[in-house]
């Protein structure tokens, strides 16, 4: 059960054509590993974000498979090459079937 899941991304507003930019992403999520015991002594069931993908104008930037070893509030930093203005689309896939999405525009300066 993931509540108050809030995706956040940091993308520069503009870049020059062909520039490589660094993108930082964070999503608030408990990433329950399935290893931890709750107050009642039973294992807390696993509940994590298991996949994270980023696209720029439909072109894949990264596609990550995440495991329980990723910390609470998964933070991921990576680089993207911007050839044209457009929209980044970030998608997080939860174990419970929820999909969280975020977008960010970028312009060519």
């Amino acid at each position: 059960m993931a509540e108050n899941v809030k995706p956040r991304v940091k993308v520069p507003k503009s870049a020059s054509a062909g520039e490589v930019i660094t993108i930082k992403s964070l999503i608030s999520h408990p990433m329950e590993s399935g290893q931890r015991k709750g107050p009642d002594g039973n294992l807390v069931p696993r509940s994590i974000i298991n996949r994270f993908t980023v696209e720029l104008n439909g072109k894949n930037v990264i596609d990550m498979q995440l495991e329980p070893a990723i910390s609470t509030n998964p933070y991921i930093e990576f680089d993207a090459k911007v050839d044209e203005a457009g929209e980044f689309k970030f998608t997080w896939y939860d174990d419970d079937g929820s999909v969280y999405e975020e977008t960010a525009e970028i312009e060519i300066s």
């Binding site: 059960m1 590993s33 015991k37 930037v61 498979q65 070893a69 910390s71 990576f78 993207a80 419970d96």
Partner: protein, 164 residues
Amino acid sequence: MELNRRKAIALGAGGAAVVAFAGSALAQAATDAAAPAADAAVNTAAAPQTEAKTVEQWIEEFTGGAEVTEGGITLTAPEIAENGNTVPIEVDAEGASEILVLATGNPTPGVTITKFGEAAGSRKIATRIRLAETQDITAIAKMDDGSFKQATSNVKVTIGGCGG
């Protein structure tokens, strides 16, 4: 408008009615929001629990048994992590198409498999991971030419990050 006592009372009642209406609308919205949350809770219970694969199984699955050589990949991790709950790591492998990261001392060694697409600006990722105890972290990169490169880094953990 001249405001006498009667009009003031009427206004007050009107205001109260508006507040009451808004309140009920909010309550309705809250109920609507709660319904999908309950659905999600049911789904969580049914979520498939993947079997814990061993380090060997992870590597075998990733490389298909191919030879893995040292070098050509940089794994940056702290020497000492005071808190195993969140250890910053960075992997950089120029020319890699996929990178596998393993925490060899964790109950479930898998950390991430990252695939880079055509719009990727580099073959580098940084994230934060959990480490249960002092251990080696291994990163294996699948290069564009089909070869595999590996790097290992030992991290001393003061407080473990997997509960228990």
